[in-house]
Structure formats: C-alpha cells, structure tokens
Amino acid sequence: MLFGIVILPMLGAVLAWLIPSNSQRPLVLPIFGLIHLAMTGDLLLHTPPPSSAGWIYLDPLGKVILIPTSVLFMICAVYAVGYLAYRQERSNRVLCMGLLACLSAMTLATVAHHLGLMWLAIETTTLAMAPLIYFNHNARSIEATWKYMLICSVGIALALLGLFFLAYSTIVARMEPTLLLGPLVAQAGSLSPAWLNAAFVFLLVGFGTKMGLAPLHTWKPDAYGEAPGLVGALLAGGLVNCAFLGIIRIYQICMASGNAVFFQDTLVIMGLVSMAFAAVFMVGQADFKRMLAYSSVEHVGILAVAIGLGKGALFGALFHVINNSLTKGVLFLSSGNIHRSYGSKSCDVVKGALKRLPWSGGLFLAGFFAITGSPPFSPFISEFTIINSSFAQGKNFTGALFLIFLAVIFIGMASTVLPLVLGEEPQDLAETDYRDRLLTVAPPLFLMGLVLLFGLWLPAPLMQILQDAARLLEAKP
C-alpha cells in the first residue's frame, strides 16, 4: 500500500505523457488526485507496520504532512481542469507530468524513514517543480526558474553534506554507520555532539533554503510571483511542508540527544528573522503574488519559532502546518483567478476585485483574514497556541516580538489587500475572457470551508494524530 501510493502518481505522469489531446489531458490530475486521497484515507485508518528494513513507515509526523498534501493536491487538480481550459494556447503536458511526479516525490518524503531516501524525495520535488514555474515561458518566468533552480540545488546539496555529517557522527561514536531514523533517534544520546551540531546547521541551511527561511528565501518571491496560481499553491502548501519535515526529522534526533537548547534557540532566532523580513517587505508590496510569497516566508518563520519553543507550541506548529497549507491554497488559487481576469498582478491596476469577481475577490479577502490569524479561522487557533506556550514558558521577549511582527504584517498585508478587493475598479480596464466558473471557484471555496471548520471544531481523529505527532517531538531529558 505504501509503495502503491508512491508509485501510482508516477503512473499518472506516464499516462499524462501518453495522452495526445491537450484539452483532455488535465482530467488525469483529478482522477489520480482522487485515488491518492482515497489511499491516504485508507492509510490513516489502517496504518501498515514499518517495512522490514525500516526504510518506509508512515508515522504520525508523516501523516501530518501527508494529509494536507493529499487534500491540497486534489483541490489543485480540480482547479487545474478549469484553469487549463483558459490556457489551451500552451501545451500542458509538462505541467500535468510535473504535478504528478511532484505528488509522488512529496508522498515518498512523508513515508521515508531512511534520511537518504527522504533527501532524494525532496530533491526530486525541486526538480519536478522547475518546469512548472517556467509554465508561462517568458523572460520573467525564466529568471525566476533559474534563481529557484540554482539556489535550491545548492541548498539541497548542503543538506546532503549535513546528512553525511550525521552519518559521520555515528562513525566517530563507534556505532554501525546508518541513516535510518529509528536507530539514530534511539542512540541519539551517544552520537558525537560536535558532528551532530554540524549536521543540524547544514540541514537547517539546506532544507531552510528549500523552505524559504530568511535570509535564504531570495528565490521565493520570484518563483511564487511568476508561477501559475495552482503551482504557487503547491509550492507554498506542499513543498514547504516536505522541507519542514526534513527539518523536523533532524530536530527529532537532536531532541533525543539530550542537548536541546542550542537547536531550539537557533530555530527561534531563524524563525523570528524570517518574520521580520516578511514584515519589512510586505509593507507597500506592489505585486500581490509576491506579497503572498512574503506571507509564506512569515509562516515558515512561525513554524520554525514554534518547534524552537517546544512543549505546548509543538501541537500549534503541527496544526499550523495544515492550516497554512489550506489557507495558502485559497489565497494562491483565488489570486490566480484575479490575475487571469485583470491580466496583471500589479496592485496599481488590480482594484475592486470584489465587484469584478465577487467569488474570487471574496475568497481572497477571507483568505487574507485567515492567514493573518483572525478568528474564527483555524490559523488563529494554531498561532494562539504558539503565543500562549511562549508566554507560559516565560519566554516573554520571544512572544512579544512574535506578536509585534504579526501586527505589522497584518497592517502591511491589509494595505495591499483591502484596496485590491474593495477599491474602485479602474475605468480603462481591458476585457479578458476570464469569468468565475464552478471549476475555478469551488476548489478554493472548499478549502476556505475547511479552514473555517477547523477553526470552529477540530475532528477527534485529526486531533489524535496531531497529539501523537507532537509527542514524538518532545525533548528527552
């Protein structure tokens, strides 16, 4: 079953390659998305035991990443059918193949318990996404793709070096050299501390680049800005989580090693720096897709701060992973609609979206309120848990900075989003053929519904998974 869920999307990619018709090909996406979602559901109900060599295992942490990935992909797949109907001028073969290949690699990253295998999966997501960012085939998108490709490749290469250091720490400690998560966590206390620290730093830099933690985020605004909306949604809600899982895995080993302070402080500082960068660049941002990229920088910062704080914030961090994915899905898909309708993503041109596109404009506004942590949406709950834990642990300075950055970001984002949605529509606007239709509005609407639902009521099974996963991350004395 676990092998099946990884292999199946690859078969879908092959099928997408074989189908000649440009208009029928996108249908492959929802079909395989639905099968993937069904298999995910089945895996959650009947979780198989670890594979015999311990390479493949879906643990609660993997589940926390797999659930939003599968849901978000399904939503984006339905959206893609509607979206690509507008983009028939361009072949979507590479797009469909890349999306499915990326789904396969993301799934592999969630179930891999051999860190080398997980590294491979994350590197594959990087490669599979590169052609998708270049979907529009213009000068701007090629610049974005080049930056993305080069910076992320170098980052991921450094993560590989970090993994080598981790394996070397077992050699120095006179243990059987291994990169399997199970033995590494079990024997974390006897690993060579110097090499473990080095491994942590390199893995944090490597996966942090992929995740977009400041100051390693420089590729992010370009890639998110130039990629089509649905690719942006999967970058911000899927790939980010996989890279975060990479950091979580090394964090698990570090917490079990008994010397948590260095690792936790590093993560808190890196997270706060990311939030500060986001706050600075969010204010007065003239391009609403780039603004979303900075919002993503902010939220990976929140995740880093949260696992850095530990204890009660761990639950908040893992819940925030899901909330961030779903809300980013709403924002990127609705912003894609707005971009299509106005033929521009500059905030000078795009005004009064609520009149021109009542559904997409409304969703963008609701998504804005959700992502900035306004009640009753679910990011409010997770962010509140994190802040609460910060003050409960007596880390008042961290908590205060966190709150200040959230406030600045809210104001900065509001100054862009409110005129965009509520302002007066410019008179001399060119007509485009985009209208809100069921297939491009229902997917983000469904995600928005989930965000609202989780804000009001968290289903017990999901709660259970989140608590189990948070327990895996607790520091051992």
Binding site: H114, G116, L117, W119, L120, E123, T124, T126, L127, A130, P131, Y134, H137, N138, A139, R140, I142, E143, A144, T145, W146, K147, M149, L150, S153, V154, A157, L160, L161, F164, A167, Y168, T170, I171, V172, P177, T178, L179, S192, A194, W195, P221, D222, G225, E226, F281
Partner: protein, 212 residues
C-alpha cells in the same frame, strides 16, 4: 593503495585551480569532467571488489565524465558562448582566494574531531577545499554555464566527504543522488538554452527584472 588515492585527491585539488584560472568554457567543462572521473575511480581503489563498487564507479564515470560534459558542451554550442567575460572578481584574485581557501581547509581539517582512522588523510581537506572552490566559482562568475560548473564542483566536494562513509549510504540512494544530479543538470541546460534565446546572452547579471 592510499598513495594512489592521495595522488587522485591532489589532482582533484589542482583541477579546482584550473577552473578558477581559466576563462574558456570548454577547458572548464573538460576539467570538471576529469575531476568527476578521478572521483569515480576513488571508491574503486579504496575498497575491496564488490558489485556495489563497480556500479558506483561506473555510474560516476558515465554521469560525470561523459553525460554531464556532453550536456554542458551542447548548451555552450547552442548559446555560442566560449568565454567567461568579466567575472565579478578577476581570475588572479579568485586564484589567490582559492589558494587561501585550500590552505585554510588543511588547517581546519586538522582541527576537526575526526575518527582516528581518518586523521591525517587527504579526504577531508580535499573535500572542504573543493566545496569552497565551488562556492567561489558560483558567486564570482556571471555566465549561467560557469555557475553550473561551480555547482558541479561543490557537489564533487560533498561527494569526497561521502567517500568516508560508503557503508552508510546504500547503493540505491547513491544511484538516486547521481540520477538527481543528472536530471538537475539536464534541466539547467534547458533553462540556459531558453535564457540565451530570450536575452541573447547567458549573462545572469542581466536577470534583474525581478527585485524589490
């Protein structure tokens, strides 16, 4: 056979300087190909015979010695670029920096808490020196192809460190790393091709539309 391994590592470090000092793309590409082949031979002479080793050695030589140089040469031909022009830091300066980095790599490696078995070997200093050279090329050159060459040198440096722990990396993962590298270079080659068509140049310092 450690003396032969040491000679190969010295060769790898010398190749770093060839790339740092040359402005011609063709020379840089061939130098990196030679570096890849030298690294591919290393696991073969360090350990006893096994199919695992044959596969890694063969894969490395085919990928880094033949396929990647072929892809890059193709990209150079299509882009009609033969030389690196005006790097951000001149050749003499980067050569000197490379020498300083290599010296520092030796000093630093001596201070690392290595396993007693690996103390005094050339692997760790060669790895650090090659890694730093890769960074130097990546950051100081303007042309997209030169940056890819820098990335390859960086990857080679990481690979040298990986030689110390072949037993921890199963062959499947190692083959995967190599495959990912190949696909990565392939995609970069395509992007370079598109950059040269779009901008009539592969000078990445012209990629400045997207900024704050």
């Amino acid at each position: 056979m450690t003396s032969f391994a040491d000679q190969l590592l010295v060769l790898v470090m010398l190749i770093n300087f060839v790339v740092l000092g040359s402005s011609r793309m063709a020379i840089s590409i061939r130098a990196v190909a030679l570096q890849g082949i030298a690294l591919g031979l290393l696991p073969g002479i360090m350990h006893k015979f096994s199919w695992h080793l044959i596969m890694i050695t063969g894969g490395m030589i085919v990928a880094k010695g033949i396929v990647i140089p072929w892809l890059l040469t193709g990209a150079v031909r299509k882009a009609e670029i033969r030389r690196e022009v005006e790097p951000f830091i001149g050749y003499v300066a980067t050569l000197l920096l490379g020498a300083v980095f290599t010296a520092l790599a030796f000093v630093f490696a001596a201070k690392l808490p290595l396993d007693p078995e690996h103390q005094g070997l050339l692997f760790v200093p060669a790895s650090i020196a090659t890694l730093l050279t890769g960074f130097l090329v990546l950051t100081t050159r303007r042309k997209a192809i030169s940056q890819v060459i820098g990335y390859l040198i960086l990857e080679n440096g990481i690979f040298i460190f990986g030689l110390l722990l072949t037993s921890a990396m199963p062959v499947m993962v190692e083959a995967g790393v190599l495959l990912d590298l190949l696909v990565g270079i392939f995609i970069m080659g395509i992007i370079i091709n598109h950059i040269s068509r779009e901008f009539s140049s592969i000078d990445t310092s012209r990629l400045t539309t997207l900024k704050e």
